[in-house]
């Protein structure tokens, strides 16, 4: 039982990290950024390239090295997210919602198949792997590396939440989410804040990408598609636009999948997980913590 909970929490923390970007962007400009999962893929490949450039490193140093790579990758994917917003979304900000959505789908395909053109269709394997000897804790097998990954994820999530709720920048984000035009009149540089929001969301997706690459080992150009959908789901369960809700949503989806597999077997997992979600959303359409509909970030 503890193993199931642990499996669910571990996968769920990846969903949550990716879902945060979805949620933030939706909160601010009401855009479902379908390319978000592909920023996760971009992060995994950037980390791969940075690691390759760093060359051979003794395995004792792999954890500090990975943390360095993680930060570098976050900066790069963050900038990629900003560029994506500038090129694909900003010109369409006043266009009908549908055009934006199609642009996002287009951006997703462009990133996926652009990466295929650059890196090839073959899956790549990370040169540094987080293996580790498993420990038995309360009947669950887990590796210290998994604990580190979860800790990193939690630090990012708490940091993001503090940033949004406690800083000037966060206040500006929340203001824009409420009313962009009034925010502009109050002297907030709306475009700059939206750019920074994209930076943060994309950097988190990039971080998740590197972590997945280093832990699971295999990366390929389509790896962002499925997790993008899952993260979107997680954001909706949690209450899209609400940051603590999104984190909870990610963890809940991970747990639902884990228990669904256990109770009904692998082929019924998604039926179970998504069936529960449909039920849940009919009862609570705003998601877990989505009651503050008027204030979103």
């Amino acid at each position: 039982m503890t193993q199931l909970v642990w499996n669910g929490l571990f996968v769920g923390s990846f969903y949550a990290l990716v879902a945060l970007g979805y949620s933030m962007v939706y909160g601010i400009i009401k855009l479902l950024n379908f390319a978000h999962g592909d920023l996760y893929m971009l992060g995994a490949f950037t980390g791969f390239a940075v690691l390759g450039a760093a060359g051979g490193v003794p395995s004792s140093l792999s954890l500090p090295l990975l943390l360095g790579v993680l930060l570098a990758t976050m900066a790069i994917t963050g900038l990629a997210g900003v560029a994506l917003e500038r090129v694909a979304y900003r010109p369409l900000r006043r266009a009908p919602r549908l055009s934006l959505l199609i642009t996002a789908v287009g951006a997703s395909f462009a990133l996926e198949y652009g990466m295929r053109a650059v890196a090839g269709a073959d899956p790549r394997v990370y040169p540094v792997r987080l293996g580790g000897t498993p420990l038995e804790i309360l009947g669950a097998r887990l590796t210290p590396q998994q604990l580190v990954l979860i800790a990193v994820a939690v630090v990012f999530m708490i940091g993001l939440n503090l940033l949004v709720t406690r800083t000037r920048e966060g206040r500006a984000m929340r203001a824009i989410a409420l009313d962009p035009r009034t925010s502009a009149l109050m002297g907030i540089d709306v475009n700059a804040v939206i750019s920074r929001t994209f930076f943060l969301g994309s950097a988190l997706a990039g971080a998740a990408g590197v972590m997945a690459g280093a832990y699971y080992g295999k990366i390929d150009f389509l790896m962002g598609f499925l997790i993008g959908l899952k993260a979107f789901t997680a954001a909706v369960i949690g209450g899209i636009g609400n940051i603590p809700g999104t984190m909870l949503g990610g963890l809940l989806l991970g747990l639902l999948e884990s228990f669904g597999t256990f109770w009904l077997g692998g082929e019924w997992r998604d039926v179970f997980a998504f069936g529960v979600l449909i039920l849940f959303l009919t009862v609570r359409p705003t998601g877990l913590l989505g009651e503050r509909v008027t204030e979103r970030v």
């Binding site: 269709a121 899956p123 295999k218 499925l226 082929e267 997992r269």
Partner: protein, 383 residues
């Protein structure tokens, strides 16, 4: 607010349906192109994108090698041979569109097909255009269950593979077997047939969702039944991850994979340590072929890379197509099919060829490979 994304998703789906509808509408132009003049065109559907894209070049390169060799010897019936490849992305929809494209381009014989799930919907498309299909790799029983006249498999079938698996499991003295598949046509077929043969020995059959990274939930399920032999019947990407995650979860029993997972990438993804000693049921690969040094050398010379899984079958598919067209004296579909049915003792890598009434190989030729230092090597020919 929520309704807008839903609507837009619906219109996306609609657009996709309309697009594929257009593809169907182009059908039927193919017959006119089947003239007895100009080059003889062989069509080849292979994954060039998507999850199985790594396999595509192994197949198309080998097929092109055969085409070039035949052309160098004067072609077929005095006409040159030409290879047209199209990307099926290992996806049924892309495969249907690509098959329609090949039909309109006037191919005479199809020599492609890797993913069974993607090959299945192309059978009627080639069938309506009266194009014989020699399928080099895809081997789900479903491909031949419909008893279509124009479909020939030159790879062992799912049931033959399951038999090989059962033989090896018996030889290893395994008591409790866990089967894992990815719910695709190919993978489930082998698992279901293996379960039929193994009976009570199977303690669990677990389906996983392909294209994910984390299979810990499935693995927890499987290991709860304490198997001493696990057989994965899916493809290599998930296979590599599953091998690694099984070992990380403390599984020490035997692991075997089916032919779709036989790729050097499997060991790379799993890590050499986790991949060491993984068995595979596989038809002949360039590495296990006897007396194929010359062939491997010419492949290497042309492509500056090693041949891989299904290179030899693809090469043979082209040679077999050429042989059948020669015997039929032309590219007429019915005559080529008759010639294929009449083939007896045609030399292929897998041995002399003769089709069964179901258009499959009489002997699947499956053998057992094992991973040693990251590479699949022959363990037991099962003869």
């Amino acid at each position: 607010m929520r309704a807008i994304p839903l609507k837009s998703l619906a219109s996306l789906t609609l657009a996709a349906l309309l697009l594929s509808g257009c593809g169907q509408g182009l059908l039927g132009d193919g017959d006119d192109a089947a003239t007895e003049e100009g080059p003889i065109v062989l069509g080849m559907l292979i994954p060039q994108s998507g999850s199985e894209a790594a396999i595509g070049p192994y197949m198309s390169n080998a097929a092109q090698l055969a085409v070039d060799e035949i052309n160098a010897k004067g072609g077929v019936l005095g006409r040159t041979l030409q290879l047209k490849t199209a990307d099926d992305a290992c996806d049924p929809q892309s495969a249907s569109a690509a098959a329609n494209k090949l039909v309109t381009e006037g191919v005479h014989v199809s020599v492609g097909g890797y993913c069974s799930g993607a090959t299945l919907p192309t059978l009627p498309i080639f069938g309506r255009a009266n194009i014989p299909m020699i399928i080099p790799a895809a081997n789900s029983q479903e491909l031949v269950d419909q008893k279509l006249k124009h479909v020939f498999l030159i790879n062992g079938t799912g049931s033959q593979q399951a038999e090989a698996a059962q033989k090896w499991i018996a030889k290893q003295g395994a008591k409790s077997v866990a089967l894992m598949h990815d719910n695709t046509s190919y993978s489930k077929d082998i698992a279901v047939r293996a379960q039929g043969l193994l009976g009570d020995q199977v303690v669990i059959t677990e389906a996983v969702t392909p294209k994910e990274s984390d299979y810990s939930a499935n693995i927890t399920n499987v290991l709860a039944k304490k198997p001493d032999f696990i057989y994965w019947t899916g493809y290599f990407q998930e296979g590599g991850l599953i091998a690694r995650q099984l070992r990380q979860s403390g599984y020490e029993g035997a692991l075997m994979v089916a032919d779709g997972a036989v790729s050097p990438k499997l060991a790379e993804i799993a890590g050499n340590e986790a991949a060491e000693g993984v068995y595979a049921t596989m038809t002949q690969t360039p590495d296990t072929l006897q007396g194929a040094e010359n062939w491997i050398a010419s492949y290497k010379k042309k492509y500056n890379a090693d041949p891989g899984p299904y290179s030899n079958q693809s090469y043979d598919a082209v040679r077999l197509a050429a042989e059948a067209i020669t015997k039929a004296g032309g590219t007429d579909g019915a005559k080529v099919i008759a010639a294929l049915e009449a083939v007896d003792g045609f030399a292929m890598f897998s041995g002399p060829l003769k089709f069964t009434p179901e258009h499959t190989l009489a002997n699947g030729g499956f053998q057992i490979l094992v991973v040693k230092d990251g590479a699949f090597t022959l363990q037991d020919p099962l003869r």
